[in-house]
Each structure stands twice: as C-alpha cells, then as structure tokens.
Homo-oligomer: 210 residues x 2
DNA sequence: ATGGAACTGTCAATTCATTGACATAATTTT
DNA sequence: AAAATTATGTCAATGAATTGACAGTTCCAT
C-alpha cells in the first residue's frame, strides 16, 4: 500500500486535517475546496492538496473534496479504523488522567491494563481498571495482545522498562518520561516531552519581549 | 539582543540540548565537543554547532564547550533564569497532574492558582492550591502578575476562555484543549494536542506493518 | 448543449533546513 | 618552543519542504 516513504512533516498535519474535517462534518457540510479549508485552517491551499495527494486523489476537479469521504479516508490512513490495545505503565496523576480521558477510546485506543511499582495502589481501580504490580506485565502483554504501551513513569526507570516492554512484544511506545528511549528502530516511539514544550513557550515569550 | 529571527526548528531542539547537558553536568563532566555530543544525542555535530551559533560562540576551538557554562547559557536563552507565574484553567485529571508535577517549579514555572467551573470542587486543594471559581480569574490574574495560563478544559469552552485570558492580560497560553485558539499573534500559544500525538503513533505503527 | 467558472493534481520554482568542508585558533604532547 | 592534534565557527553545497502556477477536468448556469 505504502510505496514511497511519507515525511513526518506531512504525517504531523494529518490529525489536524482530520479534526477540521470532523468539525465540518458535524456542521453538516458536505463539500469543501482546498481554498475553503485553507481559509479556515490558515495554511496554504497548495499544501493541503500536496499533502492529500501523497495518499491518493481524494478530490474531484471542479467540485472539491467530499467532507465525509475525506474524513473517513484520513481516519483509515491514521489507522483509526483498527482497534489498539494499550497499557499504562505508571499510575501517577498523569497516567490516571490519560486513562480517564474517554476520547482515546472513541478512536479505537482501548486501555486494557494499568501497572505501577507502588504496592500501596495495587488493586485500586481507575475507571474500572485495576492497578497491577509490574511483575504481571509480561504475562498481561502477551495474553491481551497489547501493541501500545504508555510510559508515564519518572525518567529514572523509563529506559529499562521500555526495553522490557519491547522484549514482551510491544510494538509502540507513547513516551511521557523525560528521557530518550533506546529501542530497536522497528519499535515506534512517540515522545511527549511536556517540559520541552513549556521551555519552548518560555523562549517565545522571552524573545517576543525584545 | 535577538537580531535575526531564529527558526522554530532550532528552538525545538534547545530543550533537548539543555537536558543532555544537565545530565553531563550531573555526571561531573566538564567539557564536551560537538562530536561527543553528536554521538550521545544521535544528531550531526554540524547541526549542534550551527544551532548553538545562532546565539553566539559558546565554544572554544581546540577545547570544545564547557558543560556548565553552556548549560547555563541555554537556560538563559530559554528564559529559565526568570520566574513565571502560571494559572491552571480546568482542574480535571490533567490539570491536577500538571500542578502535582514538581519539576516545572524547579525551572521557575510557579503555579499560583487553579480555576474550574465545577462548583463541587471549589475550595478543594491541589498541592496546597485552592480551586477557585472562574469568576475570580480576572482579579487574580491582574493581582498576581500571571503571565502564562495553562488551558486544560474541554475544547467546547477553550476558545472563549482563551479570549478572556488575553483580555485579562495573560501573555502566553499552554494549550491542552483539542482546538486551535484564536488570539492575537503577540500572545504566545504552545499547543499540546495529545490525541494528535497518539494518531501519529498510530500511523507509524500501521505503516511499518506493510 | 455550450460557455464560463471552479477546482484538483502535479510540475517547477522557491524557500528553508541540514550537512559537509575547511580555515583558523586553542590545546596538548614531545 | 615547536609540532601535532583537536575542535570551533562559518561558508558553501546539498537536500527537504513549501509555495506558486497551470493544464485539464468537472460543475453549473443559461
């Protein structure tokens, strides 16, 4: 299906297209041109056409794009038509916040288990999911066909736990720990470094002041 | 101080340099060359030198870079030598997780207040900070010299609240709501769209499978 | 039906980002 | 003290991403 490698710059923009198309769909709008989308999203129409064309011709000359169809197609490209089984490793505030955020499940990302090394919270339930000790992880991952692990533990343990998870057969890691993981390149890692993001904000704030 | 505009690509890499330099400093290492850093960080030495040179010559030919000095300087560039006063708007799980995450304070980002529209949690304390009703926001922002607002509310209310915050004098918004804010360009916005990040992971997972 | 307007898909041009190369300077070794 | 080594800062070359332009197709009004 995928013939040429598509740049991460393009991939990063897909979720935003998806979101805007979802909004248009909810408003009952059936068709949209690259120029109209351009106006709403504040990107060039050329970029929109270029981006979409990486995946095929979804539009029609003289008409534009069918909102519902394009929305579905981008969803498929993003793999949202398939279910993913997730575990959370680290049941701190952030881990709990993610489990409690329902919208991920709507998109097919199902939280199956939560793990933590703190014995005091073992057995505690987060949205019905019981917190388990780390020792259970290996069996759980294998038995429940888990493909994505969400890492919300402190940086000190993260690298080692990531390696364990890979050994257990995980395919992708959504990494909130503030450290770069060292895993084989076929394992997909998506980093969310919140403090990096805040520092960037801080820089822009400071630089705008002079 | 800033003469030429520096690209966001460069800015985005600064926090990572800062992190690695901090680690080296903690290990007691005093000097580092761009080549050594390159090996550790898995980026080209040329990029490191190019990036740093946007801000001045921190190194010395034949010697390399002094770790402690460079760490300090990057910290200053990122504005981490100054204190910032923050409020959280939206005391849900994510908002609470952020307040509880101590490391931000270590970098000079001080949470001064938490606001939420749900009356049931007004008066509740999160790490000693009382949750206040939204109506208090205007006075609080003005009296406490708040410059950064953290938006952790659902997308439905986010755009309107952002406009209010701007009117109250806020300078920057760290936006976790899954919507693009509409604020004047002098207001700095840093978006953290978690579901976009997860969708990107999902794409890469799917595309690696074929 | 026919003509004009509205669009896409795509090629080419441009702009932006990254990498490579090297002159020059400080350091270390002999 | 001189030679050899190391390593920066910067210019030029390359590569990637974005934008502009337009041929060709479809839609819509008359």
């Amino acid at each position: 299906m995928e013939e040429k490698e598509i740049s991460q710059a393009v991939i990063s923009r897909l979720p935003r297209y998806f979101r805007y198309l979802g909004d248009l769909k909810d408003e009952g709008i059936e068709r949209v041109s690259s120029q109209e989308l351009s106006d709403i999203m504040k990107v060039t129409a050329s970029q929109i056409r270029q981006d979409l064309n990486n995946f095929g011709g979804f539009g029609q000359q003289g008409y534009g794009y069918n909102v519902g169809y394009l929305y579905e197609e981008i969803g498929k490209i993003l793999g949202l038509d398939k279910e993913h089984n997730l575990i959370i490793v680290g049941a701190g505030h952030l881990g709990q916040a993610l489990v409690n955020y329902m919208n991920f499940e709507r998109r097919g990302f199902i939280f199956r288990g939560v793990f933590d090394c703190n014995p005091e919270i073992h057995g505690m339930k987060i949205r019905g999911i019981e917190v388990q000790p780390m020792e259970n992880m290996e069996v759980f991952v294998k038995e429940n066909n888990i493909d994505i692990a969400v890492l919300t533990i402190p940086k000190s343990g993260a690298v080692a736990v990531a390696e364990q998870l890979v050994a257990y057969g995980i395919k992708a890691i959504w990494n909130f720990a503030h450290v770069d993981l060292n895993v084989p390149k076929e394992i997909q890692v998506e980093n969310v470094h919140l403090s990096d993001s805040l520092m960037k904000l801080s820089y822009n704030l400071a630089s705008r002041d002079n």
